[in-house]
Amino acid sequence: MSTSATAPALRKTPLNAVHRQLGAKMVDFGGWDMPVEYSGLIAEHMAVRTGVGLFDVSHMGDIQLRGPESLDAIQHICMNDASKLQVGQAQYSAMLYPQGTFVDDVIVHKLSDNDYLIVINAGTREKDFNWVKTNAQKFHCHVSDYSDYYTQLAIQGPRAEETLQKLTNVDLSTIKSYWFKWGTVCGLPNTLIARTGYTGEDGFEIYVPSDEATSKRVWEEVLEAGKEFGIVPCGLGARNTLRLEAALSLYGHEISETINVYEAGLDRFCKPEKGPFIGSDALQQVTAAGGPERKLVGLEMVDRGIARDGYGVFDENARPIGTVVSGSPAPFLKKNIALAFIPKDYSAIDRQLFVQVRNSMVKAKMVPIPFYRRPKKQS
């Protein structure tokens, strides 16, 4: 056993005791004591792809901007065009540093004309809040940290709507993807129900009061409602393999303070035509220089081997050309996949590359991303 100075205690969500009671394997995720798996990563991953899974994502943060210039503040701080949002609509976006690199990726929700909710990552809660507070100062709006007010649950999978429908009076079929409504959920009035998620499946995120008793009751009612669809609680392990199959970014991997928007391939969420915002000048320069030097690409292992985070990528002459930022077996696709940054000159689909897996060079090929797209709903 190693002895070291006492580390600061891990933060806990209101459902921490519930996860432990369920026998979850716990892990330190960005300073949070979180469940990494319950019944098993593969079983949890498959439940989300074929039925429904339940995640406690309360570690994520919530920033509210209120006031007559809240939209102006968001337009200045976030790269997507929030003026395109209608009340009840949300969009994937990001906050950038002046260099055009990432402070964090976020989802911006328009609650009303002067009221916006920004959902942010767990590991960057304080950084993000301070960033928003500082940069919103010159606008007539009020910035509040609502992170601890909510227990946030994600119900994800093709049977998520049927599951949640049992617990709410809102007709969920009227909520489109990336839209949200307020309604009664598990008897709780004015609950935010958003059709958002991080799994590549259909699903919802609900925001309920964060007291332990309410959080536990809602958690259990969702598990009960989803029983007939094979619902299981899902941890961060499955959350990672699900988002990887869908090629969704993870802060510190595909996006970070040293990666710019165009390198990360997130051009479609960046709207310089809306007017200047923090980072837009630097991005304009990237464009003027002919685009980013390196690009995020998808890899699929051709020969036996698993590409993992940090492994080197090599060309057919064994020259190092890049690094894997996220890599893992893909439980649903039954392939070994990875996301890597390589020079833009190498980006050709089916181009043969190698990943150094421990002591061997293992053949891989470039494939289009996302690796997985959910099937179109049969109406």
Binding site: E37, G40, G237, I306, S328, P329, P331
Partner: protein
């Protein structure tokens, strides 16, 4: 967890069942639990030489890779073919899902390994229980 009394154990979480000159080797339930869902077993070939304390292969789960350390020295006589197509059997029953069989070159080596009781204690200390 009850660790089979007739097996011996290493601090790297391998088990070995010695029967005459043959040792059957696998990883413990504690190891499979720590690894999570196992997706690949890199086992040696029949006829390979293994040396006590040295890496003889690896086990990969979705989230991690773990080296396998030989509990004894000898020659590999058999490899569990089932694990090539169903590596997850180790998760289901680690103490029955053997990885390789070895003809021991030095029977005394097995004696210095941990007993089930000692291994149990070792795991308890590792996990702080």
């Amino acid at each position: 967890m009850a660790y089979p009394a007739n097996y011996r154990y290493t601090r790297e979480h391998e088990w070995i069942e010695v029967d005459g000159k043959t040792g059957t080797v696998g990883i413990t339930d504690y190891a499979q639990n720590s690894l999570g869902d196992i997706v690949f077993v890199d086992a040696p070939k029949v006829g390979a030489t293994v040396k006590k304390g040295e890496v003889f292969g690896s086990v990969e789960s979705v989230k991690a890779v773990s080296d396998l350390y030989a509990p004894v020295s000898g020659t590999v006589t058999e490899v569990n073919e089932e694990l090539a197509s169903s590596p997850e059997k180790i998760n289901t029953d680690a103490h029955k899902s053997w990885i390789m069989k070895v003809e021991l070159s030095d029977l005394a080596e097995a004696d210095s390994l941990l007993s089930a009781a000692d291994y149990d204690k070792f795991v308890a200390e590792e996990t702080g229980h």
